[in-house]
């Protein structure tokens, strides 16, 4: 996908038909914004990302600050001073939800960043060299795909010191297989295309081939799979935290807010409904955007919902 020319040109053809010529990026954006659900998802995610980045300035209270005198051992319902109520320790749930967005979004992005890098690496090697390398790497991917990933992540996590960075790395390590398969597939498709043969014949090095000629043409499915990978990572993190094996205690993530809320399930809905709704909306938004991107990138999918 070339980003060179973003402006649209009007070309006058001989028989006076006006044809809009667009750059690839412009065309993809045109296709993407036609999908209104994807557009809505994107708007939500942009806002959420800003909230996450500036979360420390947006919280009305310190999310870790306890007010035991106010709570007196039981969660207090929403009121004008605490719009999402407080938990049993008197911590402001609204501030916790805001600061948790930083953790949840952060884990999602970094974990997928890691798995995408591994996936691109494995997929490039397999697709570029083929043969034995390909065989071995793809068998490893098959094996990883049949592993009980969730349980392994839980286990590995329980060995490590509870930290948000470990969670990012562990989720990343177990999530690269799809990207690797996609990249490999694109590489295999490209192998037989003329410009690749041309680049080979002028003696471009292997590294140059991969970086300059193969990867830029294989990046579209990677972007889609990363976009769809982020919500999975967010769900994984929240599941881990929900089981008490994820983001460590005083720090708030949507998952461990649910973990806290679980003990007050019957009497304090405000402890567990908002974080659950936030996770759901965020994940839906990412999935809408991913779906929109897939359709926008894929010419055969155009016009489909």
């Amino acid at each position: 996908m070339s980003m060179i020319n973003l402006e649209q040109e009007q070309i006058e053809l001989t028989d006076n038909i006006k044809v809009k010529r667009q750059s690839q990026a412009g065309y993809i954006w045109f296709q993407f914004q036609r999908n209104k659900m994807a557009l809505a998802g994107l708007v939500f995610l942009v806002i959420l990302t800003f909230v996450a980045i500036f979360s420390s300035h947006l919280t009305p209270y310190d999310p870790l600050q306890m007010d035991t005198a106010y709570a007196m051992g039981t969660p207090k319902p929403p009121s004008w001073i605490h719009i999402f109520g407080t938990d049993d320790l008197g911590r402001d749930e609204f501030s916790r939800a805001i600061s948790a967005s930083e953790v949840s979004i952060g884990v999602g992005f970094v974990a997928v960043g890691i798995s995408t890098i591994i996936g691109i690496l494995v997929g490039s090697l397999a697709g570029f060299f083929g043969g034995g390398v390909d065989n071995v790497l793809m068998r490893v991917a098959d094996i990883f795909l049949s592993l009980p990933t969730f349980f392994l992540i839980l286990t590995v996590n329980s060995f490590l010191k509870p930290s948000i960075y470990n969670i990012m790395v562990v989720i990343g390590i177990f999530g690269w297989m799809n990207t690797a398969r996609l990249v490999r597939g694109e590489f295999l498709r490209l192998q037989n295309i003329d410009f690749i043969t041309a680049a080979r014949s002028v003696g471009v090095s292997n590294v140059g081939m991969i970086l300059r000629h193969f990867l830029p043409n294989a990046i579209a499915p990677v972007i889609v799979s990363a976009t769809i990978g982020i919500p999975s990572a967010i769900l994984l993190e929240s599941s881990l935290s929900f089981l008490g094996l994820g983001v460590p205690a005083p720090l708030a993530s949507w998952g461990n807010m649910l973990y806290d809320g679980r003990n007050w399930m019957d009497m304090a809905w405000w402890m567990w409904v908002p974080p659950g709704v936030l996770i759901s909306i965020t994940v839906i938004a990412f999935n809408f955007v991913g779906d929109g991107l897939r359709d926008a990138f894929d010419p055969t999918q155009r016009g489909r919902l």
Binding site: M37, R139, D142, I143, L145, S146, L147, P148, T149, F150, F151, L152, L154, T155, V156, S158, F159, P231, L235, S238, S239, F242, L243, G244, L245, L258, G261, R262, M265, D266, W269, W272, G276, I279, S280, V283, I284, N287, F288, D291, R304, L305
Partner: protein
């Protein structure tokens, strides 16, 4: 067909060996001295000599690779070691829990098929209708909502507030029901966990069925059927529907890992006495022999499930059989 089956079974061997190596490594890499779990923490700490003695007794003085093969040999003889928490044989614990997980898994599987396939077919046939938009949105919600949160919502609505269904366990405690009453009791306990576990797969499967159906409806033979004046119902249900089901078999294999991952969470929310809950308990109590066994068995379920899906696929689609 037999040759294909044999080849597939042989391919499973390296996979299972790798998984066994991995779960052995889990126990190997786990923090802490493995012999300490045989030491009674209430008594005074053992001397270095006693510890060494324990190490020799349990074979921890041997090199890692030797221990791996000893462990593997034991597994082949059905000896999976002993739980460090209850000291019961690991196999007994798994045997007690695995059927419950399979029950929950099959129930969820059934519910998914019953809901997702008709939804997918309908939204494909009535493409771009109001119904299609509603089910599409619903499917996105289904795949996006966290299972455990959905489970909490279900519990609060149907158990706490309406009081229709039990929310914890598999049977009513204290009542030793027998016969039909017992089946009914288990079925009532099964409803909420099954719905919670199915939400993701209903979303995913209905989308998949929709695109399969659309694909088939675009084929020439469907146009032929319509062209010769066949009524629409026969075209859809006799001609299109049956072929649209073939790719679903692949999904059966592909969605097994998700089903098992989901079972770990669902079982621990609902206190369902299955392998998933056993596994989570094993992790939190650092019961590594049990963790290893749960890892192996979950992987085995996925591998066997994939094998069944592949064999079914071959049986249904003659084009694959030749290759």
């Amino acid at each position: 067909m037999t040759r294909y089956l044999i080849r597939r079974l042989l391919q499973m061997i390296p996979l299972l060996l790798f998984i066994s190596l991995l779960s052995f490594m889990i126990a190997e890499l786990s923090p802490g001295d493995p012999v300490m779990m045989y030491v009674n923490p209430g008594k005074k700490p053992p001397t270095a000599e006693q510890l060494q003695q324990l190490r020799i007794t349990f074979g921890y003085d041997k090199p890692v690779y030797v221990r791996y093969f000893i462990w593997l040999g034991n597994i082949f003889q059905g000896n999976w070691g002993y739980s460090s928490r209850t000291h019961a044989p690991v196999m007994d614990e798994i045997n007690a829990r695995l059927p419950n997980t399979l029950l929950l898994g099959s129930a969820s599987f059934l519910l998914t098929i019953i809901l997702a396939i008709p939804i997918g077919v309908l939204s494909a046939v009535k493409r771009y209708s109001f119904l299609d938009y509603v089910t599409t949105f619903g499917a996105f919600v289904g795949i996006s909502i966290p299972i455990f949160w959905f489970a909490m919502v279900l519990i609060v609505i149907f158990s706490t507030n309406l009081g229709w269904l039990p929310s914890v366990g598999m049977q009513t405690l204290g009542k030793n029901l027998t016969g039909f009453a017992r089946v009914w009791d288990v079925a009532r306990h099964l409803i909420l966990p099954t719905i919670a576990l199915s939400i993701t797969s209903v979303g995913a499967w209905s989308r998949y069925q929709r695109s399969n159906m659309l694909e088939v409806l675009n084929q020439d033979y469907i146009r032929t059927a319509r062209g010769k004046g066949m009524n629409e119902r026969t075209v859809i249900w006799t001609h299109a529907f049956r072929n649209s089901l073939i790719p679903m078999i692949t999904l059966l294999g592909l969605s097994l890992p998700d089903l098992i991952n989901g079972a770990f969470i669902t079982e621990s929310v609902f206190g369902w006495p299955g392998m998933g809950r056993l596994g989570i308990q094993a992790i939190t109590t650092r019961d590594y022999p049990l963790v290893m066994a749960v890892t192996m068995f979950s992987a085995l379920l996925v591998v066997v499930g994939n094998l069944i899906a592949d064999v079914l696929y071959t049986a249904v689609d003659p084009r694959i059989r030749q290759g």
